[in-house]
């Protein structure tokens, strides 16, 4: 007898694709963002940056399974059937609840709002796919606040931000909330992720205050090769970011992947050429190329599977040119020159996401069908839904643009205010949002006792050895006990040094 080891609603191709794309998106965070940002900061901040990325990712996973997923994708908090302003609040958010039990993980994924075609994979696939999007968002705005935000404050800000900011935007645009009802679209998170990350980063950088003046004057990246590794992982990982969002391993997944790469290629080249033509130095730069690449990836995200290839190429060029101008010129005027957005997240994610979201209102091609057994390309098959977007250039009028604009204004306004409030709460609980200046002067070593490129010649093991196979440390050379600062009046008390002491038994720590 032929046995199939999964439920009838499950399609192995769709399920595989969902898990693969989710993993690709996860790789964009770890190692992608971690090494990209880790390489972009000064040497003394590399460890702190990477550990913030690392811990932020872990926090969001846990929040997501315990309550966040259902806030973003569960039942509307006010129930269905409401209209007008009351409908907005009834459809603002999902009811929080965990999905960690067997049914939560293994039942067929669904949206309470309904989907055009049923999902062919379990909730675990859907939730994991969605959580890697949620998790990368704080990692993106980490780029605005790094090199001064208190580590403890970060550990608290991330879960609160996901709970009170991210899930609201996600529900409103994706989970069947109000903007989704109205027809605003966001294919893979140009608004929910990138615009929100840009806005949050900017607000948080303003609230937390700038990096040390000295750090800003010496803010050279510590490793361009590491930046290139992170950038490459981001680009190809984005095949999952946009390719997974149709939720079927079908035609539109393929279109979305190709369009993503087209827009990115166009945007990266646009930035490099603009550097060569318009910058004072007239030279192509690697970091300019990386900026352009990110802008391309971000700008195609709100419409990856709804525009055609020409639309994707044009979006890449337009967005890259706009963000290039913003990066080089808007950054010199208020309020942008008053806020230390360390890595410029408000430009490469905020403005790029906004531009991409609005461009869907122009380039949406109704013949690019996201789901479909019906629609222009599926005339022969029975009806089971079909979804596409009609922009201004394809006979759709201004309708789509209008809703894209309204949704963007919502995301900007809500995210800014809510992030501000959450930061004030965090400030009270963690007694401040910044590390003290004397810690900032040192960086990684002061916060973590680790540095990115340790110098082994000057380091000497002390204390008991945690692992077998290594003999107890030799006593330090005599000079180690001399001249070290000793609290006034105390003897040379440090047990960690000195040739005068006999070799200690283990346990010197």
């Amino acid at each position: 007898m032929h046995v199939i080891p999964y439920p009838t609603w499950l399609n192995p191709g769709d399920n595989t694709w969902q898990l693969v794309t989710a993993t690709l998106v996860g790789l964009m965070s770890l190692p992608g963002i971690a090494v990209l940002y880790g390489g972009l900061v000064q040497k003394k901040w590399a460890v702190n940056t990477m550990l913030m990325a690392f811990s932020g990712f872990a926090i969001v996973l846990i929040v997501w399974v315990l309550w966040g997923f259902n806030q973003g994708f569960g039942n509307p908090i006010g129930g269905g059937g409401h209209t007008g302003i009351s409908g907005f609040f009834h459809n603002l958010w999902g009811k929080p609840s965990p999905i960690a039990n067997h049914a939560g993980e293994q039942n067929q994924a669904y949206l309470p709002e309904g989907t055009l075609v049923p999902f062919h994979f379990p909730t675990a696939s859907f939730a994991y796919f969605q959580v890697v999007f949620a998790a990368i968002t704080p990692l993106l705005f980490l780029g605005s606040v790094l090199s001064r935000m208190k580590f403890k404050a970060w550990l608290l800000f991330v879960p609160l931000w996901i709970t009170f900011v991210y899930t609201v935007n996600a529900f409103l645009l994706w989970g069947g909330g109000w903007w989704a009802h109205k027809g605003a679209v966001d294919y893979s998170g140009g608004y929910v992720i990138h615009l929100a990350a840009g806005v949050t980063g900017f607000v948080a950088a303003w609230v937390i205050g700038p990096r040390l003046q000295r750090d800003r004057q010496h803010a050279l990246p510590n490793s361009l090769p590491m930046i290139m590794v992170g950038a490459g992982v981001l680009w190809l990982g984005w095949n999952g970011f946009n390719g997974g969002d149709p939720f079927y391993a079908g035609v539109d997944a393929a279109s979305a992947v190709l369009n993503t790469n087209l827009a990115t290629a166009a945007a990266a080249l646009t930035w490099v050429l603009m550097d060569m033509w318009f910058l004072k130095q007239r030279k192509p730069t690697l970091l300019g190329g990386v900026n352009g690449m990110i802008v391309g990836l971000v700008c195609i995200t709100p419409g990856a599977g709804w525009v055609n290839g020409y639309g994707a190429l044009l979006e890449g060029v337009i967005a890259s040119a706009i963000v290039w101008v913003a990066w080089n010129h808007l950054s010199k005027v208020r309020p942008f020159n008053r806020v230390d957005d360390a890595l410029g997240v408000v430009y490469t994610h905020g403005i790029a996401g906004l531009v991409g979201g609005l461009l869907v209102g122009f380039f949406g091609d109704p013949k690019m069908v996201e789901y479909g057994c019906s629609g222009a390309n599926y005339t022969a098959v029975g009806k089971c839904g079909g979804f596409s977007v009609s922009g201004l250039f394809y006979g759709g009028g201004w309708h789509q643009f209008d809703w894209q604009l309204v949704a963007a204004l919502w995301v900007i306004g809500f995210t800014a205010v809510a992030s501000f409030v959450v930061l004030q709460v965090v400030r009270v609980i963690t007694r401040g949002l910044r590390e003290p200046d004397e810690v900032l002067e040192v960086g990684d070593l002061a916060i973590h006792d680790e540095e990115a490129y340790p110098e082994d010649r000057f380091a000497e093991r002390v204390g008991a050895f945690a692992m077998a196979g290594i003999a107890v440390g030799e006593p330090s050379p005599p000079l180690a006990s001399e001249g070290r600062q000793v609290p006034a009046g105390s003897a040379e008390s440090s047990a960690r040094s000195s040739a005068s002491q006999a070799p200690e038994p283990t346990g010197g720590r």
Binding site: D449, E455, F458, A459, E460, R484, Q485, S497
Partner: protein
């Protein structure tokens, strides 16, 4: 001629450099150095293992100046480098017998 040598906190380099430029000092040589005096080193921890690092990153700055200028250069370095906290560094002055500019062969004060 005198050789003024200073071991300084790295982040003070910019201020010291500017102070000496103001005095008309034409150039200097800087190396990254590791050292310790009364400043306590630090501990690093990797995978649970504790390491003591007595040496602290420093900048070693060297500048050769005319005898008459040595004192004001030393004063300027001290003023610019001081934070008042332990580990600010040292400045010392040694006599120099001869200086030659490699490009032209000029000697002595002309080579400064």
């Amino acid at each position: 001629m005198k050789l003024v040598v200073a071991v300084l906190k790295p982040f003070k380099l910019d201020e010291v450099k500017e102070a000496l430029k103001t005095l008309g000092v034409q150039g200097m040589t800087v190396t990254e150095a590791q050292g310790f005096g009364r400043q306590r080193g630090h501990t690093e921890v990797y995978r649970g293992a504790e390491y003591e690092v007595d040496f602290v990153p420093k900048i070693r700055m060297e500048v050769v100046v005319d005898d008459a200028q040595a004192d004001e250069v030393v004063d300027a370095v001290v003023r610019a480098a001081a934070t008042g906290k332990i580990g600010d560094g040292k400045v010392w002055v040694v006599p120099v017998d001869q200086v030659v500019r490699v490009r032209t062969g000029e000697r002595g004060r002309d080579a400064l």
